[in-house]
Symmetry: C2
Subunit: 353 residues, 2 copies
């Protein structure tokens, strides 16, 4: 879920005029988030440890390779069908580590609490984090709590950071997407984002939507056990959705991405809600689904392994990496037309994670 | 600066009545923070990796020992003489790692920005973080940015997490404080906390106070190089000050702590400001000073090594670990009286870090 520091150092270090301000879209995972990262954070922090992985950094300790990632969670409402800010804070960072191919070892938890928050609410969130950590097989080993004055926060913000160990033979990075590779998607999309939105004030749907937020580390471990060297790229399509994740891969590897809309599963209630709201499910955030760009000769075996795993039962082959339209994502639509899929440009769904 | 999860599992898992709410003092580092950790976080997260270190967790990777720590920063104002939220966010986590005896390797940075924040302000903070990271010899390798709606945050909150490597022979933990050990303090106290407070709206002092926030990793590396096995406990006395840090050591090791008030240096302008505000400097937060509990036979060598280092030039021996009054801190005061030093009970200085 993080949008960390990738190594592309931008040419223009000064981001803006003095009067420019932060917009909600700067946190949306789309174009403005990329602009902030590329123009402000990267030039400042440029250093040799910045890695080509989008979901976490890899530290080589000599004897071991460590994945390291962080995410803050500001989701609103705190509780929603299928999860809450606590479970999301655990899965978000576990999944970022998993997208490096790592087995998560330990998480930290940093709380920023608003004065006046009910301790009962905090207790519920903490219990949910503990349960999520058990489900993900990871320990929360260190933490921190700050309290800000009433009206200067919004109940609870949680940051989690995590460390994980990367098994030998695993070498996952967006730039490894290679012409001929096959793109797998572990299940249906957009459920998490649409569920959060349906819970927002003033929006109610008749259908019962439930977030599919889940930890992906075990599914990744299964893929690693099946064919570690065939795993070229892993991404969980969170903010900005599947569309933005694929655009990032196309840009990082300078390859063409071609996908087939009919292969991308969107459940009927999710599609209905998206239509009602004017949202394209391809841009809606997920937390519990992954994209895998894999070597063609191992694709069938990896797809089969995914489908045998409970978290990948509906996995599908949705496209491939091509030599044409490098840097771009092109989709064959339901009706047979071809269209270019752009990176999300605004903020579809603020505070979705 | 963190007050993480120590392994003491409390007997009473339910923290409060449903109507109880979070108070500013829950984030103050004193009694209420301890209560929250002991009664709410620890029972929920209890797991074998929880460590006896107060400033970070230690992960044994087999081939290496990794320190892992996190802290969120909500300091107000964002900029103050001697530093800002950015430098503090770097030094705070670097120092937590150093207090495990570790050499910091890498930091993450998680931003929670309020919609409408000036990008110029963000740019200044990020530049300051980058400079602080260079000074501390650590790389910021991964990050995340979230934006919350206007009025739901307070300009910028920053979380940093960090990982570091613990050299062989280093075994630092509060429980290692042993009767006969000597207590060293690396310099004068209370400057950071009083500087922040002096900047708060409505409070102005005629004296020029400046925060002494600084990275302590290099000073710790010097101590480790001098006599690694003699370093029993390291603590940076942040929230709750020197008094609370010593109370935590006395409680964790079940030893008596005896200190001499005359040996604890408080600069005149700091003392003056504390008197004006009715603050006891012993409870005021520091960021850039450390307490070391060391084996008696190595104390002189370690003190000399500290004094030769620019960040420990004013280091002093301030007390010792004794067999009497176990679990308590007793101070011989300036006027020759003896008094028990209690853990901070309320919130002296909200949003000091």
């Amino acid at each position: 879920m993080s949008r960390p520091l990738s190594p592309t150092v931008a040419a223009c270090p000064v981001p803006s005029t003095p009067t420019a301000t932060v917009l909600l879209a700067h946190g949306g995972g789309g174009r403005l988030t990329h602009k902030l990262v590329d123009e402000l954070f990267l030039p400042a922090f440029a250093n040799p440890l910045l890695t080509p992985l989008h979901d976490g950094a890899v530290l080589d300790l000599g004897s071991a390779r460590l994945a390291f990632s962080t995410d803050s969670f500001v989701v609103k409402p705190l509780f929603f069908p299928g999860g809450d800010i606590g479970s999301l804070a655990v899965y978000g960072t576990v999944n970022d580590l998993a997208m490096c191919g790592a087995r998560p070892l330990a998480l930290s938890a940093g709380y920023i609490l608003e004065e006046g928050l009910g301790l009962e609410t905090l207790t519920r969130v903490v219990a949910s984090m503990a349960a999520a950590a058990r489900r993900a097989g990871v320990a929360i080993v260190t933490g921190d709590t700050k309290v800000v004055d009433r009206g200067k926060g919004d109940q609870i913000f949680i940051n989690t950071a995590g460390v994980g160990l990367i098994p030998p033979q695993v070498e996952i990075a967006p730039r490894r997407a290679t012409v001929g590779d096959v793109i797998l998607l572990s299940g249906d999309i957009a459920r998490h984002g649409v569920t959060i939105l349906s819970q927002r004030e003033g929006l109610a749907f008749e259908t019962t939507l439930e977030s599919d937020a889940a930890p992906l580390a075990d599914l990744v471990a299964t893929l690693v056990a099946t064919e570690p060297s065939a795993l070229h790229v892993l991404r969980d399509p969170t903010r900005g959705g599947v569309a933005t994740a694929l655009c990032e891969i196309a840009a990082a590897a300078q390859v063409g991405v071609q996908i087939d809309e009919r292969a991308v599963v969107v459940r009927d209630p999710v599609r209905g809600a998206c239509e009602m709201l004017g949202l394209d499910p391809l841009y809606v955030a997920n937390e519990g689904k992954l994209l895998a760009v894999v070597a063609r000769d191992a694709a069938d075996r990896l797809l089969e392994a995914m489908r045998k795993h409970p978290d990948g039962a509906e996995a599908a082959r949705i496209g491939e990496i091509v030599a044409e339209h490098r840097g771009k994502v092109v989709m064959n639509s339901q009706i047979g037309a071809r269209r270019v899929v752009e990176m999300m440009s605004g903020e579809q769904l603020p505070r979705i994670c």
